[in-house]
Chain length 372, copies 4
């Protein structure tokens, strides 16, 4: 694989994030095939042309199918709204392209299953943009867990919170409509679930509660409308490993901006992490004299690969977008047939089924087995 | 009330803590009746005499009933193991004494109810040692919540964790036996529940999960024994106020030493607290320019009464035992017929019923209404 | 020594703090002689009588010399304003009493030297109230340093900051007058110097700068007056051990409430501490894999004696006043002829000479040897 | 300016960092001229060719003068060792190129002055790579200071620490030789000085101490050699604004990885920052009720431009390399004749003169005026 032709569908924030990653992956890693940014699609030809110029793509188009049809394109980044993922991803796989699709897969689990089926059928790499698993600190935590540095994990707590819907005076908008999904569960739960999958393995059963912090929201033109989605969810978890756990998500948590917090308790130690301080984590090990035991705050460093590809000095810090560059490098590895650390459509479907099990658990007021 | 005669039953750690409070309450507050430490009971006469000397009590005794019978004693501190609370507290109330009893009330909810009935019947002050509610920082948080400084609270998370049972190599002991109760739920849940009651009001329904981090523990003489109690519990909460919540407790959480953490999310702000840093809390308010919003770390200060009775300077810090001195001052207020900030046997019973509802919820795998 | 008779001169905040310590020392430690609170002096007889009632003293007096003359009094706590220390302490020592005097010794270094001479001449215990050295966390740090857990210390940074003079609108008052001393240097520098003495040994030379954040302050009755003292000082240090260092003090540092921060760098590790979080410290050691190295946050625990005398559980926290109880216990040990961990008048004089050397260095704009 | 031709000399870490910035600046900002990566020079032709492929440059060369001579090149990134800066930068300026040179300018202050002279003479943009000033959080702090949000600044403390020379067992290498400069002062002091310049204005006088934590270091082949440089420096500062200050730098501070910490105290508030947590800062303002005052931890967000060009959501975090992208955008602005936020050769010379004044102050043991 001497060179890779890249197509991009969608140029909103995540489209830009993919483009940044495609631009940076070779300068950062220095060991990739030649990455050629070939073809980009956006809603209008004008906008597509402007974005192509900005993001460094050679061609542009208002027809996403043309990107997929482009014979020089080997891999397609799909960063459009979730409702379009299934159609585009399946079309791309059918056209023999590798697919890098933003998560979640699809609002409808049936569509997600069809995406998974297409990835099986066509033998191409099909992965989802779960970038938090790419943080070098997270990779190191994974390594610590797998080498049993904190023994057998028996209890975990995950939280994901932001505050973009914390203001009751914010207007009713599409995220408050039932058609957008369950609420915080869709927006957030997949992220901690991707971490749980990679660090701890699958969830076996769930018992969820959901809540509406604000029953109504004002309408732009006056009056108000009943909120149909749940901005808060709390979930009891049982993992296949036997560990017990808890997951809380909220998009109405004032002061939380990008919190993805985890507490992992094992038989010989504990690990803490919060994405708001993504360049550090905390490790406690029951070793040495009790008078000197405490949580160690460990800063990201070249000892946590591939941090070393970005920076030669410890404690200088990576950013959110750098995670996407690492994800891009992993995708190139997968395309080259190498082992890679990614969430593919198979695992992505398992994650989304877990979310749907949570919602069902809430509706039925009982524990639900994810495998059912 | 010019003077108060004090009796003390039990001289373990909490007995000492009560004695320290009785010794300090007047020097700290300077506005109390004369506190006379009269009569102390312990298991043997010898030990009782030694402890009386240390703790400043005039008389000592191996018969706790003699303390209660002492006509000069006005109030009895009961700090014996939980199983003895009911008999002693009821006897003291029947003898016309005020009672300061350590929590929880009793392993059996029927005994707790009888204690409550006795407190009603005899018209004496009967309170429980829920000291975390006395922290000046906590009192200030209560004030902030009541004056709606963070608006209407819609979501809360409480955690209480220690690690004294985190080591799987620790021997099986009485806390692993079913006769000791449910496990972490008894040891810990009452503390956050006391905070929930004071800050947010009663819990209406619960859905609990419990877990055994270690199925077996080694026996001192070799071999092992199956653990019968649950060192971990995770509980979904619904409060009467309408707020949704979560409570997690663990006595096997490596690195956590005295964590009692809470996150309270309201419609205009949030409050965070952790007892491991009991002299500070965090406040976020949606006010001012977004570029300058953040969680404020507020240090305990004379502006948070009665901190000012201990220290004239902010940021210098109170300790765990100081909370008990404040509790003692509140008890004296209650005995004088003044309004006081305490958990009495009535509220204590409500708290313990909530714990039992959690256990029942776990056994039956469904939501349980606390009022049932 | 079966019992100890205690006298107290001065009942302001530090007088109360001494009284609390005298009341608590036996209940906390349980191994002291019988402490009898005998005689207290305050400005008027009325106030003295009221304070004696509050603080648990038997007799009261408006004549401090009567406290010293009381034959039953073995030890005198002196907590009056600094200007009175020398006369009172020397009188007490001459009367054959042990002396527990609040720091600093005296505004005039000659007076301080006379106090030292009196302590030498009369062979009684004469100590100063440097309570920060008594924090169990600090004692543990001292132990770590002495056992070379971070190797040879080569660089230290000390800061002490509060904000009680941070507001330029605050009125001119006595602390802004030259007669009160240099400024922040007197108020604060002795505290970090007491830590430096105990942890690292004496300072050999200093080079200081001082600053006036506000040239004038408003007068209560209108107008303004030029400020004569320095609310800020920055000092370069050389220790006898060879370590280089820095000391910064400010009483105009908005947001700092009781900060006494230190950073100690050694050849194999580092230690950090801040009194605003007095129940924890941070330890870094160059050991184990680099990927797992970090500062450990260690919570105060029974493994840091004498924390265990106050609390049996880790992470529950001592308060500022508890440090004074420990100081009191050390004083009783010294009075019994046992080894004790205290700043006596000898060491106190060395500390104050260091402060005066700093002031001289500032005046002369050059390095000053403390021993000169 | 429709397009910009870029040359790069040096492809070590900072060369890669420049290349990443040149690759990312348009995708991130979307409003730049077309950036053409034209010509790169490295030590050998082979290495240059490999690096050109990785970093996306069209041509490569082993002769740096050929890069400068390339008529299509408009701007040259110079990222070679400091000793080469002067010759290369002056040649580039003479050739009519804009120059983006890594800091510091040159080991010799005369060379630095010649660079400044060349920049004056040829009227081209000539800037230094002081990236910490580009952090959006730092830009916001600058804004807060300039709008007097914390009033008049009267006292500042700056620290910069790493631990790459903390181990006394590390071998003697070129940084321990006098020919490398003073030591920590060269390595680190320029960084905090760049912040001081931008946030607070120039330094007027300095009084420095320097120290060698380890007198000798082992040689690779056995034996040891006396260390000639100072790994630690402590400096008293006086700013032109009248503020007093302190600067401490160490490259032997175990546990510090990329600490660039500042404390800024003003008449109405304070600001704290540490580069190890570059996505947050702390703000204290004396406003509202004292009971609710505290340091606010403010997370980087789109409200701190140009964070919004990288990420639409707050609290998600930029990385060290992103600072360089912002610097690159500022450089393009300067090249287009727009106002830009940069350290040019004029200001860079002032910064380096301040460092040399510190060294002279240490040698002479007295305060030195920077302007002398």
């Amino acid at each position: 694989m001497e060179s890779v032709g890249v197509g991009l569908i969608g140029t909103g924030y995540m489209g830009k994030c993919h483009a940044l990653a495609w631009n940076a992956v070779n300068p950062v890693f220095g060991d990739c095939p030649d990455v050629r940014l070939l073809h980009l699609a956006d809603v209008t030809e004008e906008q597509a042309a402007a974005k192509a110029r900005e993001l460094g793509f050679a061609d542009s188009n208002a027809q996403w199918r043309d990107v997929i049809a482009d014979p020089q394109v080997d891999v397609v980044s799909i960063t459009t709204p979730n409702a379009f993922h299934a159609e585009m991803a399946i079309a791309a796989l059918e056209a023999g392209k590798h697919v890098w699709c933003e998560k979640p897969m699809a609002p409808d689990v049936g569509d997600a299953a069809r995406m998974r089926d297409a990835s099986r059928a066509h033998g191409k790499v099909a992965i989802l943009g779960y970038n938090y698993i790419q943080n070098p600190v997270m990779r190191h935590i994974e390594l610590l867990l797998k080498s049993r540095e904190i023994g057998k994990v028996h209890h975990v707590r995950f939280e994901m919170d932001e505050d973009f819907m914390a203001d009751p005076e914010a207007h009713f908008f599409w995220k408050s409509e039932a058609s957008s999904g369950y609420g915080a569960l869709d927006d957030f739960a997949v992220h901690p679930l991707s971490l749980i999958h990679k660090l701890l393995g699958p969830v076996s059963s769930v018992m969820a509660d959901m809540a509406k912090p604000f029953a109504h929201r004002p309408l732009v033109d006056g009056g108000e409308r009943a909120v149909e989605t749940y901005d808060v969810a709390n979930v009891l978890l049982r993992l296949e490993s036997g560990a017990a756990g808890m997951l809380c998500v909220s998009r109405s948590a004032w002061g939380r901006k990008g919190r993805v917090a985890m507490q992992i308790f094992g038989s010989t130690g504990s690990i803490l992490f919060d994405q708001e301080r993504m360049n550090e984590f905390q490790l406690y090990r029951n070793e040495g004299h009790a008078a000197n035991q405490g949580f160690r705050t460990i800063l990201a460093s070249p000892d946590h690969p591939p941090y070393d590809r970005f920076l030669p000095a410890p404690g200088h810090g990576l950013g959110f977008n750098d995670q996407k560059v690492i994800e891009c490098r992993q995708l190139l590895a997968a395309m080259a047939g190498e082992e890679a650390h990614l969430v593919d459509f198979e695992e992505g479907l398992a994650i989304e089924r877990t979310v749907h099990a949570m919602a069902r658990s809430f509706e039925e007021g009982r524990w639900i087995s994810v495998l059912d």
